[in-house]
């Protein structure tokens, strides 16, 4: 796809082939190592049902199906990326849709995976949908961008572009964890993985010469210098997170536990009644 003029630019920044890691097929920082870390931590077993929300071309779906034997499927709003994915991975199931409106019945998935895609969704709405479609004790697995020094205004107001990109929806850690707790999820794992951003920056500079040159290609109608300055001022980082849907009765109690601050990482998965090896 040629991306020389504004009219040829995709509406969603992540649809641009400039973001495609040609070696891995992923449209995000990092390769499969973070995906593997999450699946292993959560103890997912062959045959477990996992939904990748914001799957892009479905590279992770194909990987999880092939290497872990999961019943993995992908959902993404981008018809362009899904079309690419169906050509690349004809063996997997991809469906068009949004995280805020999941086209699946209640309690139908053991795990939900969002890799660099949660920031593109309305967290409160998508989070309720994740809760609805997960089994009790099911896993929400996320890797995404976050601000290590959050801006005072909401990022959507700060980041100077009208095009859809993760920098608009990224949050600070405390804000994110507070929301997940209120939505009914118990945090089991949080890890800072900002090293993958450094590798991404390295790759971008090797290919495009500088970050500024990259911004100019991605956001030509905006102010690339201001975009870069805004991004740098928030100290972008990258995290990996696993949270577990609480059992029915726990949810409201936790949701009303305001003022308790963000959940603390427990670092111990609670496999509970729907844990590894259990019958569904």
């Amino acid at each position: 796809m040629s991306i020389n003029t504004l009219t040829q630019l995709p509406n969603r920044v992540y649809e641009s082939e400039l973001f495609l890691n040609k070696a891995t097929g992923h449209i995000r920082p990092g390769g499969t190592e973070l995906t593997r870390r999450l699946v292993e931590f959560c103890g997912l077993q062959p045959g477990d049902r996992l939904l990748d929300v914001g799957c892009g071309t479905g590279a992770s779906v194909a990987y999880l199906q092939r290497d872990f034997g999961l019943q993995a499927q992908g959902l993404d709003p981008s018809a362009l990326l899904l079309e690419r994915g169906r050509r690349l991975y004809p063996e997997i199931i991809l469906r068009q849709g949004r995280g805020e409106e999941l086209p699946y019945p209640n309690q139908s998935w053991k795990g939900i995976l969002c890799e660099c895609s949660l920031s593109l969704m309305e967290l409160e709405v998508a989070g309720q949908e994740f809760y609805r479609v997960l089994y009790p004790g099911g896993w929400l697995m996320i890797t995404d961008l976050y601000w290590r020094q959050p801006h005072r205004q909401s990022p959507g107001q700060v980041f100077p572009t009208r095009r859809s990109c993760v920098l608009q929806g990224a949050r600070g850690m405390e804000d994110l964890l507070q929301h997940l707790q209120e939505l009914g999820f118990a945090l089991r794992l949080w890890e800072d993985c900002s090293q993958v951003l450094n590798q991404m920056v390295f790759d971008i500079i090797m290919e495009h010469g500088s970050l500024t040159a990259f911004w100019e290609k991605i956001l030509p109608a905006d102010d690339p210098g201001l975009c870069q300055q805004t991004a740098v001022s928030g100290k972008p980082g990258y995290y990996l997170l696993a949270a577990q849907k609480k059992w029915g009765g726990e949810r409201n109690v936790i949701g009303k536990n305001s003022g308790a601050g963000p959940a603390r990482p427990l670092l111990q998965p609670d496999h509970g009644p729907s844990g590894p090896g259990s019958q569904r």
Binding site: Q195, N198, Q199, V201, F202, I205, M206, G209, S210, L211, V232, K235, P236
Partner: protein, 66 residues
């Protein structure tokens, strides 16, 4: 340097043509991976001047700004 001339670069020690491959580059506490020319025998890596003074320097500057 174009692809043809790159493929003719010889290892000064082993006198065999360098081959493109993934190499790790350590900088401060970071390790990066890049496709560069390296000797298939001794593993010595060729970093062109343009890369060292241009893009690698840009990486250093950018990471220091972060």
């Amino acid at each position: 340097m174009n692809n043809e001339s790159r493929s003719r670069v010889l290892c000064v020690k082993c006198q065999v043509p360098l081959e493109e491959g993934k190499v790790s580059i350590a900088y401060l506490s970071n390790t990066f991976y890049a496709d560069l020319l390296r000797c298939p025998l001794c593993g010595q890596v060729f970093i062109p001047e343009e890369l060292a003074l241009g893009r690698m320097a840009e990486v250093e500057k950018t990471l220091e700004d972060k």
